[in-house]
């Protein structure tokens, strides 16, 4: 996206008010441009020279760097940007650009020679009369040409702009293509005559111009524009002649655009003349030029006619998603510089005839019109329309993620019964039933199904007991639900999702299980904090009967105990017929959600 640097104070003056930076950012945001940077001329220079950051002095002019859409050439200068924003803010109506009414005979002529077709076949021209320049306007005029050259002109390959003080030259003009040695002139910013071929050599060391040389360098003929006295106006797309150079005193401006792409040449010419006709004696008036090709065909340019487009209201409202009355849509379009000439009712359908001004070459299709309506209405004012979509079960999704993480650090997943025997859930774990924890089956067919587990420990220990022959170490885990009595539930009990993991080897592996706890916290984004701090997790000694005393700890997460880990009590190991030491961790993972 192109960026335009504009003096803040001049911009605010043009907008008729000052803005805070925040207010201005908001305006840009709504309009679809972006305040990219706020800087000063000196700061830019300092940055270029890699000087140390100095405090900017108070008197430096503040420059706004504004990013504009790549298809809005009319926003590439202060004049166009300010005009667009003023119209958007309702401060100004859409300008009407007109052609000076002069007879075809008194019109300036540009004769195109047939050789140009071999190198750069098109030229379009126009004249701005009675222009009042000052330093800022002059700079803006030059900058606009630079930006156009950089963007739509594709670094002058497609179009090159030449602007001249009309009072220093005399029509009719000719657009020719000649062998380089035959072109001889004093180029801009030089005092000596150069032959075109010498000039190309000379510019090879010119940082700014050398990148354009390739466009014509290898051609046996170079394009050139002459006036009736054989004064060279320009050697497009490289350089203008010094003779016709624009100054602050210039009143009448002759503009020529040579091109390999006629459509873009017209857009470029229109952009230059519409933007700067604001400074003409007759505001918004442009004097036409007749371009005559060797085949005798002639064209009057520029073409400032309005492009007419018929757009149904229903199309616009369907795109925007807001049903708006016709007059409101017309008002919104005006804010975007689109004239709605009349709205036609046809079979109960409102249709707009929209006039697209020459400044708005970006409008190609009714969808561009619909977008402008939406922008003027305000993207952020458009009511949300919710589409049908699916909600995830967060707990299940989270379990999936956690399971993958635990498997990644080397633990193998097991899937065990939810039902177990009463002994396995209590006495074999050295635990006592307080009669307010576990859901108890009334009619189990076998002792294996007496109790709904309150911990994943028995299932995991039974798995180890049945896999005694498996090579050590055994590293297993399970993510599953336990059931706990819960007075607040209609049925008096509720599930709780736990994660358990066990290490079994020649040594207990306590540090490995401790490390796994840290990893679980790491993947849940929990910081390790000092005891008593409720913003993360910490570990403190615990005293649970299933673990060896002094070899176990509680996991405190944001102030609540969510699990324990430790070396499984040797008595418990014996109860489950496990000959090797084991460490185990069990965590309530619902706490993380």
């Amino acid at each position: 996206m192109p960026t335009v640097s504009i003096g803040r104070d001049r911009l605010f003056q043009a907008l008729g008010r000052t803005y805070t930076e925040e207010e201005f950012e908001d305006l840009c945001f709504k309009f679809g441009i972006e305040l990219d940077d706020v800087t000063t001329e000196k700061a830019i220079i300092r940055k270029e020279k890699h000087l140390d950051e100095e405090e900017p002095s108070e008197d430096e002019e503040v420059i706004y760097k504004i990013e504009v859409p790549a298809n809005r050439y009319d926003l590439l200068c202060l004049e166009g940007l300010a005009q667009a924003l003023r119209i958007f803010n309702g401060l100004e109506s859409i300008p009407t650009y007109s052609m000076a009414s002069i007879s075809k005979d008194s019109m300036l002529k540009m004769h195109v020679k047939s050789e140009t077709s071999k190198i750069r076949p098109y030229v379009v021209c126009a004249v701005l009369r009675g222009v009042t320049f000052d330093e800022a306007r002059y700079n803006s005029f030059i900058d606009l040409q630079d930006r156009l050259h950089q963007n739509i002109c594709r670094r002058r390959t497609l179009v090159a702009i030449g602007t001249h003080d009309l009072d220093t030259i005399e029509g009719p003009f000719t657009y020719e293509a000649l062998p380089p040695p035959e072109i001889n002139f004093v180029p801009l910013k030089q005092t000596n005559f150069f032959r075109a071929d010498e000039l190309m050599e000379f510019y090879k060391s010119d940082l700014k111009l050398k990148k354009f040389l390739h466009i014509i360098e290898s051609s046996p003929i170079f394009p050139a524009i002459y006036d009736r006295n054989r004064t060279v106006l320009s050697l497009p797309p490289i350089i203008n002649g010094a003779h016709s150079a624009i100054t602050l005193k210039t009143k009448n401006v002759f503009i020529e655009c040579t091109a390999t792409d006629l459509t873009k040449a017209n857009i470029v010419l229109n952009t230059v003349v519409t933007m700067f006709s604001v400074y003409c004696q007759n505001k918004f008036e442009v004097e036409p030029v007749e371009v005559i090709y060797p085949d005798g065909k002639s064209y009057i340019c520029p073409d400032l006619s309005l492009y007419q487009m018929v757009v149904p209201l229903s199309y616009i409202t369907t795109v925007v998603g807001v049903s708006l009355p016709a007059h409101e849509v017309a008002g919104l379009l005006n804010k975007m510089q689109l004239h709605v000439e009349n709205s036609v009712l046809e079979e109960n359908q409102t249709k707009f005839t929209i006039s697209v001004p020459p400044t708005r070459s970006d409008i190609l299709h009714p969808c561009d019109v619909a977008e402008d309506v939406a922008i003027a209405y305000g993207y952020n004012e458009i009511p949300k329309i919710k589409l049908p979509s699916l909600k995830p079960q967060s707990l299940n999704q989270f379990s999936e993620l956690l399971r993958a993480e635990i498997a990644m650090v080397g633990y193998t997943e097991v899937l065990t019964w939810i039902l177990c025997s009463y002994k396995e859930n209590f006495t074999m774990l050295n635990r006592k039933d307080d009669n307010s924890t576990a859901a108890i089956n009334g009619n189990p067919r076998s002792a294996d199904f007496e109790v709904v587990r309150t911990s994943l420990l028995p299932g995991i220990l039974k798995t180890v007991g049945h896999n005694k022959d498996h090579p050590k170490p055994i590293k297993i885990f399970e993510v599953g639900d336990v059931v706990l009595l819960n007075e607040t539930k209609d049925v008096g009990a509720s599930n709780r999702r736990h994660l358990a993991a066990l290490y079994c080897g020649a040594t207990s592996g306590f540090e490995l299980i401790h490390g796994l706890v840290d990893r679980i916290m790491e993947v849940t984004g929990t910081p390790f904090v000092s005891p008593g701090d409720n913003t993360g997790y910490y570990i403190q000694r615990s005293d649970e009967p299933e673990f060896l005393p002094g070899r176990q700890a509680s996991i405190i997460y944001k102030g609540n105990q969510i699990g324990t880990f430790g070396i499984v009590h040797p008595q418990v190991l014996d109860n489950f017929d496990i000959p090797d030491p084991c460490s185990f961790v069990e965590v309530n993972i619902e706490s993380f959600l």
């Binding site: 399971r403 193998t412 899937l415 939810i418 294996d448 798995t463 885990f477 049925v491 008096g492 009990a493």
Partner: protein, 487 residues
């Protein structure tokens, strides 16, 4: 030196016919030659063929006789021509030599053993035993009679001798380049990796086993089936409530209180928490009425519905208990079509065997919308099951208390060459939906199956206990392919 000898010899000769003689001729230790040949063979510089030979070596006893002479000769020489007393003779010799020497000398008829006097029968004897032993020690050939005699006396023993015959290998070179087994940091630092010749890998052996954890195969299948449901636009139901009331598990589904499934033989009823405390009372009233006397166009079951029975807590026998809660909740707001699924644990008070467990995972899908027909159900079942790889389906009329029409789903199993039942389906009865408050033009089509069944088919497991529970072999969990259904 040995390596140079082998490679150098082969440069001008086609074969080393025997590594043993080759070593001997060059005065090189044969073991050294063997090691070099093995190594050269590994790198294919030479082709080595095994030579195995049985050969005789002296036992320790044999070695002493080769040194000192055989006992019989020692004994013979100890007997002077004039004879000697036994006592004198015994004193002159070691006891073992005396003993063995007497036996052999008598056997050879060399001496006469009188009552007290020992005398020579011959004037001169040859020590053939010693000679034979020395010949064997020197690797010379010995007649089979002598071999047998010495073997019997345990003076020699057979030894398998291993050697090689060697020819040029496919990578033969007169001098071996240093070959490397791996690329090292030193190779990179020294830059000698360009010259390094690598030993060829043996791709007939497997690589080193990987380390790392694994997910459980049943849950890998669960994941894929979840993906299928999501792709079909189904939303997951919250099923993390194993304890359920009979009301939501049975009554709400228009399952009569005398239904055999509500028997304690099939269902785990809970001692603690034994009863449900709260139910939506007006809905309970409507359910009671529809069971007792019907309504909504139904005759009902015509029995006395008991609240106590509905309050009994149990471990849910199907996830349809959750579906009934979800549909009831859906009916409490303005109607919006929904597609729901769940995959979670259910409980049956059954004896455990190869194909039955007291716990398994139920997969359930349901669609609640206006204008649904049996055609939609069959269509969605085809879509769902073909994603599981079962595209040949047929449907059997069946009975299910809460669906009407009800269809059992059969799939043609190519492996078994027969139709197998894979699930159950149907349209929920109006007696279930209308008391909830759903609009009367709304239908619900639903189906269910177990997660274990397709998993067992997929992983070729025929005993469910090998798949799920604490008796599962951990190695089996680690060796499963990814679950590729639904791809």
């Amino acid at each position: 030196m040995a390596e140079e000898a082998v490679l150098g010899y082969l440069e001008n000769n086609t074969e080393i016919s025997d590594s043993g003689t080759f070593a001997e001729e060059r005065g090189i230790n044969h073991d050294e030659i063997v090691n070099i040949i093995k190594s050269l063979n590994g790198f294919r510089l030479v082709d080595a063929q095994d030579i195995k030979r049985e050969r005789w070596v002296l036992t320790n006893e044999g070695k002493t006789y080769a040194e000192d002479g055989s006992p019989e000769v020692q004994l013979f020489l100890a007997v002077p021509p004039e004879g000697i007393t036994r006592e004198e003779l015994q004193k002159k010799l070691k006891p073992t030599i005396y003993q063995i020497g007497c036996q052999q000398a008598i056997k050879n008829k060399w001496i006469e053993m009188g009552k007290s006097q020992v005398s020579r029968k011959l004037q001169h004897v040859d020590d053939r035993v010693r000679d034979a032993l020395i010949q064997i020690q020197n690797g010379e050939a010995v007649g089979p009679d002598d071999i047998n005699a010495l073997k019997r006396r345990k003076l020699i023993t057979s030894q398998i001798w291993k050697g090689y015959s060697v020819t040029k290998g496919p990578k033969y070179a007169p001098k071996r380049k240093k070959v490397a087994t791996d690329l090292t940091r030193e190779n990179l630092q020294r830059g000698d990796w360009k010259e390094v010749e690598f030993k060829e890998y043996n791709f007939l052996a497997k690589g080193q086993p990987t380390e790392g954890g694994c997910l459980h195969p049943l849950l890998k299948v669960r994941r894929q089936i979840q993906m299928i449901f999501l792709q079909m636009g189904f939303e997951e139901m919250p099923t993390n409530n194993f304890v359920e009331s009979s009301f939501w598990n049975f009554d709400a589904l228009f399952q009569p209180q005398q239904h055999p499934a509500r028997d304690s033989h099939d269902t785990f009823f809970l001692k603690e928490p034994s009863t449900t405390r709260t139910l939506p009372e007006d809905y309970v009233e409507r359910v009671k009425r529809v069971h007792e006397s019907g309504g909504y166009g139904s005759r009902g079951y015509g029995y006395e519905w008991k609240r106590d029975e509905a309050n009994k807590n149990l471990l849910r026998t199907h996830t349809t208990a959750v579906s009934s809660r979800m549909l009831y909740a859906l009916a409490q707001g303005p109607f919006a079509p929904k597609s729901y699924y769940s995959i979670d644990r259910v409980f049956r008070n059954e004896a455990v065997d190869r194909t039955h467990l007291a716990e398994f995972h139920q997969i359930e899908g349901l669609i609640c919308d206006r204008g649904l027909t049996l055609g939609h159900l069959i269509g969605v079942l085809h879509d769902f099951f073909s994603r599981l790889g079962m595209s040949k389906l047929k449907f059997k009329p069946a009975y299910n208390p809460y669906t009407e029409p009800s269809m059992e789903i059969f799939s043609y199993h190519e492996g078994l060459q027969k139709w197998v039942e894979i699930g159950n389906s149907g349209m929920f009865r109006p007696e279930m939906l209308l008391p909830m408050g759903l609009p009367d033009d709304v239908q619900v089509i639903a189906w269910g199956l177990s997660l274990e069944r397709p998993t067992m088919i997929l992983y070729g497991i025929d005993n469910i206990r090998d798949l799920f529970g604490h008796k599962v072999d951990l190695s089996l969990i680690k060796r499963n392919p990814v679950c590729s259904i639904g791809l």
